[in-house]
Symmetry: C2
Subunit: 321 residues, 2 copies
């Protein structure tokens, strides 16, 4: 039994009433001294718990942290986030996830308040200050290695729809940026460890600039980046968003595994800000310009060149012209 | 300075002569007591060093182990095996390599005398007793993730040619078995950690049944497996084979990186026992029969079906009919 879990659950359940240490002790079959120790420990985690002599304890507020206890409470998923590893700060959740993956169950989440060495695509630095949502999900699907493109598209729509759940309208910029008003608010970094014919594990890393003041970001980033707080004017409930996101991700993942990637691709098209737009795609080897006319099953963007020919790009940096 | 390295080098250099502790001590600027300690330590590693009062030390024999010191001696490569991690026993060299890869330089080798949890393709158990050659190379090429098929083909020809260097004629059974007289003598397990558009690192795991008595293998394996010792009647010099193999691998890797995969593919075709043969290919999803008529740039086997149509299989289990 996780006593802290039980105590916070009981205090929450009694709402605005006090509950005595004796009552808690009786209920959990431990001493009042132990109750006091657990309360102290919960407070050190950031919980606000009032205590009044002769009346007992009252729950006031959970900390503004993405504690596993808070995320798991009311989480509707079957396996996404059933196992959560939480870090106050960490180098990078993807790095940690890759380290832990061999021993972890499908759907395990690594989450942190702050990444010290957050990374985006192509090894680029990813600024990850407190207030954002930085997490990775470990998946062990029985799929060919090159399907991770599909999982990236999938994660994109899960994010858009989870944002929609809290009233925020976002779109997807190919291949993996979630944007609000054409500014990036979320990045997705999918990584895979694979053999020739099977995946050992996939890591989907998701970084959302949630409750981040724009002046906390380097000036150069403010041109193309925004945060949920900047766009809505309010702090959002990060725990609620993570719950919603895990729920969406699990549903979309099941849809994908059940052979219905078409449905995901259709929704991707709907949310895409890239399709029917003149774009420049820069890859490591070349740079092309044309109109983005479609997306294919592998996640490749189809570009119609000025001479009418079609080009496919599976990856690259996309610039809107 | 690695004193043990220096001492064994000096003793080896003087061939059949004794060299006194005093001379060694003078040369290395350390005490004779320290020389004695290092000699003791070298002996505990398995080196046979004779010592005679008033005459000194004489090198007799290196141990039959794949010590980095022995492999690096006379190694002709530029970066393959310049860094070698050696374990008397270990779970699996691929597993260890994946763990260490983020911090390792290109060409780093993990080698062991014995794997406790050796694995082959599809997570199959890989029996790895002492006497075999079990190692993994860590590579960090700037290539797309799906090129690991090519690296597997490449490693196959490196193994065949390294065996040829010591007078053993081997062939390749698609996709990644090296065989002698149609029995498997070496397996290659390529693994990759990648993002959508770039490889973080590739691990090429190579397992060779070198000096292994057939009755050390489970009976069921003896039908389809052989060892270098079984085929040649002699113990081979494992250190020499590993040196030759690292040299071949480095050359072939450079050939591949320089855009000359064609040359590798041509040699693969030459060594292949699969081409122009009636085969059954079993994948996770289906099983097909036909004649193996070619191999394409991705490493896919091209099979001509009885109705004349061509099928491509990028992976699967190949059975000769």
């Amino acid at each position: 039994m996780d006593y802290k879990e039980e105590i916070i659950g009981t205090l929450r359940g009694t709402q605005d009433q006090f509950i005595s240490g004796e009552e808690l002790a009786d209920q959990l079959h431990i001493s009042r001294t132990m109750i006091w120790k657990y309360i102290k420990s919960l407070r050190s985690e950031g919980y606000t718990i009032e205590s009044v002599t002769n009346r007992g304890y009252k729950f006031i507020e959970a900390p503004d942290l993405m504690l596993p206890r808070e995320i798991k409470k009311d989480l509707k998923t079957e396996f996404f986030g059933k196992q959560i590893y939480y870090y106050n700060e960490i180098d990078s959740t993807n790095l940690k996830a890759k380290e832990m993956a061999p021993e972890c169950v499908d759907g395990t989440v690594i989450i942190t308040e702050r990444q010290l060495k957050g990374r985006g695509r192509m090894g680029k630095q990813w600024y990850s200050p407190p207030g954002g949502i930085w997490f990775s999900v470990i998946l062990k699907p029985d799929i060919p290695p090159d399907h991770i493109y599909r999982l990236t598209l999938m994660a994109g729509i899960s994010v858009v729809e989870a944002l929609e759940d809290i009233g925020i309208k976002a779109r997807i910029k190919w291949p993996n940026d979630v944007t609000i008003n054409e500014k990036k608010v979320c990045g997705i970094l999918t990584e895979v460890e694979a053999q020739m014919d099977c995946v050992n594990f996939v890591i989907i890393g998701i970084g959302i600039d949630a409750n981040i003041e724009m002046d906390m970001l380097p000036a150069i980033m403010r041109v193309s980046t925004t945060s949920l707080k900047e766009e809505t004017g309010n702090d959002i409930d990060r725990v609620l968003l993570v719950q919603s996101l895990l729920d969406r991700l699990e549903k979309d993942y099941n849809t994908y595994l059940n052979g219905n990637f078409d449905l995901i691709l259709n929704r991707w098209k709907e949310y895409s800000s890239t399709l029917n737009r003149r774009v420049k795609i820069v890859t490591r080897f070349k740079s092309i310009e044309g109109e983005a006319v479609g997306i294919d099953h592998d996640g490749a963007l189809v570009i119609e060149m000025d001479d009418g020919t079609l080009e496919r790009e599976i990856t690259g940096t996309c610039i809107y012209l």
